[in-house]
């Protein structure tokens, strides 16, 4: 599997939703099974160009998340590949039963996109700030749960979702994000990406925290600590092999996620380690709290979703080795 990690990680110039929409359009041009549904948030999702290109294959349902997901299930049952979008909380919480029964249990091919993960919900505040969405979705059998972190990964993961039968939850950050990958990087379901080799500790990160993990690894290097960094963009199925290799080769693990550590990446990694190869783990993530209103930099400090916190937790986990 080809993984091309960018040498530097400046803020990307393209909003991720633009990449998402361009990918949808390009897929739809090649495959007339691709359809898009939204619940009155096409503007937010940046998918209006899709509607302009494929009006008949666009279903803006109004503020009807449950109905939207059910309609998608019906379209899927007739062979279409629906991508539904709403904010993450309204997908995972409001439409949970529809995703469970009409989609996953019924073995449909629906791609549920939930945007504004965690603190990126920012000024929409605690009501709109999903720290639980991946946990809810991961508990549904046979679901694939992913969170890309930059433009290249949004494009490739969206394409992979279209090519892989089954119901997916795709956690989508809509705005600009630091460049992590270069073009040509390949994504395979259930395969984490090694972003940086290291031997003392492994930082397993997802989504918004991937860039912070790379920053933390740079800082740790200055202290003489060699940190491996994995992008666990596919939360489910989890790359257990990569987790266990990290445990045996580095002996200590820090997880980092823009999500509640309960039922998120932290819990998933800890479960694998507890069952197969216990090593010290520290978890950077939301410590079972609700979100609150604020801009992203404030919220990152508030919930300790920073490179600095990853460094702190790395030191702590190393002391426990």
């Amino acid at each position: 599997m080809n993984v091309k990690v960018a040498k530097e990680h400046p803020m990307g110039k393209k909003e991720l939703r633009k990449e998402f929409c361009e990918t949808l359009i390009s897929m739809a041009e090649q495959d007339n099974r691709v359809v898009v549904l939204d619940a009155d948030l096409m503007n937010a999702a940046g998918t209006k160009p899709f509607r302009a290109a494929f009006p008949e294959r666009t279903f803006d349902c109004g503020v009807q998340e449950a109905n939207m997901v059910g309609v998608a299930a019906g379209l899927s049952s007739r062979g279409f590949i629906p991508f539904t979008h709403t904010f993450g909380p309204f997908a995972a919480r409001r439409a949970c039963d529809q995703i469970f029964m009409s989609c996953a249990y019924a073995k449909q091919n629906v791609k549920v996109v939930g945007s504004d993960p965690g603190i990126t919900a920012a000024l929409n505040g605690g009501t709109h700030m999903p720290f639980e969405d991946m946990g809810i979705m991961s508990t549904i059998p046979e679901m694939t749960v992913v969170e890309p972190c930059d433009a290249v990964s949004v494009r490739e993961v969206t394409k992979l979702a279209k090519e892989t039968y089954g119901t997916w939850y795709i956690r989508l950050h809509r705005k600009e994000a630091p460049v992590i990958y270069e073009d040509g990087t390949e994504f395979e379901v259930g395969k984490a990406h090694l972003l940086r080799e290291g031997k003392d500790v492994t930082i397993i990160a997802i989504g918004y925290l991937v860039a912070e993990a790379l920053k933390a690894a740079e800082e740790l290097e200055k202290e003489g600590i060699s940190a491996r960094v994995l992008d666990m963009w596919c939360l489910k199925p989890l790359d257990e092999e990569a987790v266990l290799a990290a445990a045996s080769e580095t002996g200590a693990i820090v997880t980092a996620e823009n999500h509640n550590i309960r039922n998120g990446l932290g819990s998933a990694v800890a479960s694998v380690l507890a069952l197969h190869q216990p090593v010290p783990v520290e978890m950077v993530g939301v410590q079972d709290e609700f979100g609150e209103v604020g801009k992203v930099p404030y919220l990152a400090e508030r919930f300790k979703l920073t490179a600095e916190e990853i460094v702190n937790k790395s030191r702590k986990v190393l002391a426990r080795k």
């Binding site: 009807q64 109905n67 059910g70 309609v71 019906g74 379209l75 007739r78």
Partner: protein, 279 residues
């Protein structure tokens, strides 16, 4: 529709097989299954464009039984139509069965959508209708809703959606048997004028006075098909447990024990009903 008496006889046969398969297990959702039997008999007597030998025919008419707990009546209908061997009905809810309590499109030949969590079939039926239109078909999507079921908000989301997207090839039925699990609908969560409610959501709505009368059902479907402006709903005034007088109209019939003596009693009654149908 085929000959009226043929359809009536078919309804009796469906009822007999429904009761037999629930009786084999000893318990089941018998009341709400029996109340929709006459509708099923009409739909599967030529109303729906289907082919039991080719259950996945792409341009077939489709049926979403959103009140998925009526599965046993649907299975009896499908078996009698030849979708699978009649003996398979005896496996209802037994380990490894392909006939679970609630309809499952991945297990049972002829089932078009997985249902069970109430309200959800309304949306998936609309999705099917959208898909069929995208494919360029003019086939119908039929939807069967329970009366208690339409207390679910999702049903009304779907109702708004169907009108907004002009899904004129949808024909929905409400099995208005007046009973839900805990109480009579009127006493627990009264629904008011169901047809008027749908009408105000932009649907073409009809009331059928006797929703267990195959002729009245067929006439309403013909009316629905005669217009092509709006999605259609047909409110069927039915009787829960219809056909087995001992349980007709009772709240307890929703999900009840059915022992062999009840099966015998019901079959005798149904045989008598069959004899009373003319040639």
């Amino acid at each position: 529709m085929q000959n009226v008496n043929e359809v009536k006889r078919f309804a009796v046969e469906i009822r007999k097989e429904t009761i037999k398969c629930i009786g084999k297990l000893g318990v089941g959702h018998i009341g709400g299954a029996l109340s929709i039997v006459d509708l099923l008999a009409v739909l599967y007597s030529g109303e729906m464009n289907i082919d039991p030998a080719d259950p996945k025919k792409d341009d077939r008419d489709m049926l979403v039984v959103s009140k998925g707990h009526s599965g046993p009546a649907v299975y009896a209908t499908l078996a009698l139509k030849g979708y699978f061997p009649i003996e398979m009905l005896e496996t209802l809810n037994q380990p490894h069965t392909n006939l679970p309590s609630h309809c499952d499109m991945n297990r049972t030949p002829g089932i078009d959508m997985t249902t069970g969590s109430l309200g959800q079939g309304s949306s998936s039926a609309m999705g099917i209708a959208c898909a069929n239109r995208l494919k360029g078909y003019d086939n119908y999507t039929y939807l069967i809703l329970g009366d208690g079921e339409i207390e679910e908000g999702q049903v009304w989301e779907a109702a708004i959606f169907a009108n907004a997207k002009k899904l004129t090839k949808v024909i929905a039925f409400v099995d208005y048997n007046k009973c839900q699990i805990d109480d009579y609908v009127q006493d627990l969560c009264a629904l008011g004028d169901i047809a008027k409610k749908f009408e105000s959501f932009g649907w073409y709505a009809q009331n059928v006075e006797d929703g267990n009368d195959v002729e009245q059902i067929a006439a309403a479907i013909a009316n629905a098909k005669a217009q092509n402006e709006r999605p259609s709903v047909i409110v069927l005034n039915t009787v829960k447990g219809k056909g087995y007088s001992k349980i007709e109209g009772t709240l307890g019939s929703h999900n009840m024990p059915v022992d062999s003596s009840m099966v015998e009693e019901a079959l005798a009654e149904l045989d008598k009903q069959a004899q009373e149908i003319g040639e």
